[in-house]
């Protein structure tokens, strides 16, 4: 015969229910936290992002189909390695970089394909790609895309064996 329950003691059923409740709370907190730290509502919509492999393919096009590739990050990285054919604009987070971007954009056809990239820092923290994208959209470029580099140009392009050029 089972011993009578002491007042205030927890039955196995109550224990399981509490465990269940605790687990659900842990799961909910983990899920909410994961959502909060996920890529923020991006101001570069996914339709305006291009993956490294797709850009390599796009660069094989000729004539007007071939995108103009503009690098908008620090020169120190460009000199070490950059996408062959890319133009060095400089960091547009700085006023002189933004001016250079505006000047270059003024000489490009608005209906042409333009790809901007940086890769100086992880995507979520890059200080250059968002202002560059916003500027080109404001200037009326319909086919502007941003190269998606999750970690950096090194990790997501050069280390993957994709083509690079050095120097100016």
């Amino acid at each position: 015969m089972a011993a009578p329950m002491k007042p205030g003691s927890i039955t196995p059923r109550t224990l399981i229910l509490r465990l269940l409740l605790l687990s659900a709370v842990i799961a909910a907190v983990a899920f909410a936290s994961a959502q909060a730290t996920a890529k923020p509502a991006d101001d570069v919509p996914s339709a305006s992002q291009i993956q490294p492999g797709d850009l390599v393919q796009a660069m094989k096009a000729t004539g007007a189909q071939k995108p103009v590739v503009l690098y908008v990050g620090p020169k120190a990285f460009f000199l070490q390695a950059h996408i062959p054919g890319a133009e060095n604009i400089g960091p547009v987070a700085k006023p002189e970089g933004m001016e250079k971007l505006r000047a270059r954009a003024a000489s490009l056809p608005k209906d042409g394909s333009v790809v901007i990239y940086c890769g100086c820092c992880p995507w979520d923290h890059c200080p250059n790609i968002r202002p560059a994208f916003a500027e080109l959209k404001k200037a009326g470029f319909a086919k502007v895309r941003v190269l998606y580099l999750a970690t950096s140009f090194g990790a997501d392009w050069a280390d993957k064996g994709l083509p690079v050029a050095k120097g100016e």
Binding site: S23, A30, A34, Q80, A150, G154
Partner: protein, 185 residues
């Protein structure tokens, strides 16, 4: 019925753990251990840390060979780089915690305005030398194409770790501790 509830509870717990892991991976997307160019490698296959003569932020000479026999962490960073700036207080703490055991942090700043860099250095009370970087230094480390990038060098002067992007700091600390306690050949 009780068994079903227990199983369900464990399933929910497992889901929580899984989501936690997903979150962690999202925060720390990549740890790359490859370099774009290869510094000299040892018989162990690890690259040898370059021997460099540099000038620190305050104009002092910094010779990496003077740290031979220590565990050295070389952090390429910039004051304008948000995840880099977030790491600095942790490197300061690491330097303080392990310096007596033969540990040294060296910061290599990339494209920082000299004035802003000095302000940052003072504001954060950085307790390790910072060198304004250049192409020669980046090339010597096999190319540094993104920030933050951190190299962990053992007492044997070999590069035991390269971390690209914002990295889980506990991983770096574990590496440092393991190298501090590694038997010396």
């Amino acid at each position: 019925m009780r068994r079903v509830m227990i199983l369900f509870a464990f399933a929910v717990m497992a889901l929580g753990v899984y989501l936690g892991i997903c979150q962690h991976r999202r925060q720390h997307p990549a740890i790359s251990n490859t370099a774009t160019a290869s510094p000299a490698t040892s018989t162990s296959g690890l690259a040898t840390a370059p021997d460099l003569s540099m000038t620190d932020l305050n104009g002092g000479a910094l010779q990496t060979s003077s740290y031979k026999g220590r565990v050295v962490l070389v952090n390429f960073w910039a004051a304008w780089c948000v995840p880099c700036a977030e790491e600095v207080p942790q490197f300061i703490a690491l330097q303080k915690k392990y310096q007596d055991q033969g540990f040294q942090v060296i910061g290599i700043s990339v494209e920082d305005d000299a004035g802003e860099l000095r302000d940052f250095y003072r504001k954060y009370r950085m307790n390790y030398p910072v060198v304004p970087g250049d192409l020669k230094i980046s090339d010597a480390f096999g190319g540094v194409l993104g920030l933050p990038t951190t190299f962990v060098i053992g007492r044997d002067s070999l590069i035991h770790g390269k971390h690209s992007g914002a990295t889980d700091f506990s991983v770096i600390e574990q590496e440092v501790v393991a190298l501090l306690h590694a038997p010396q050949s």
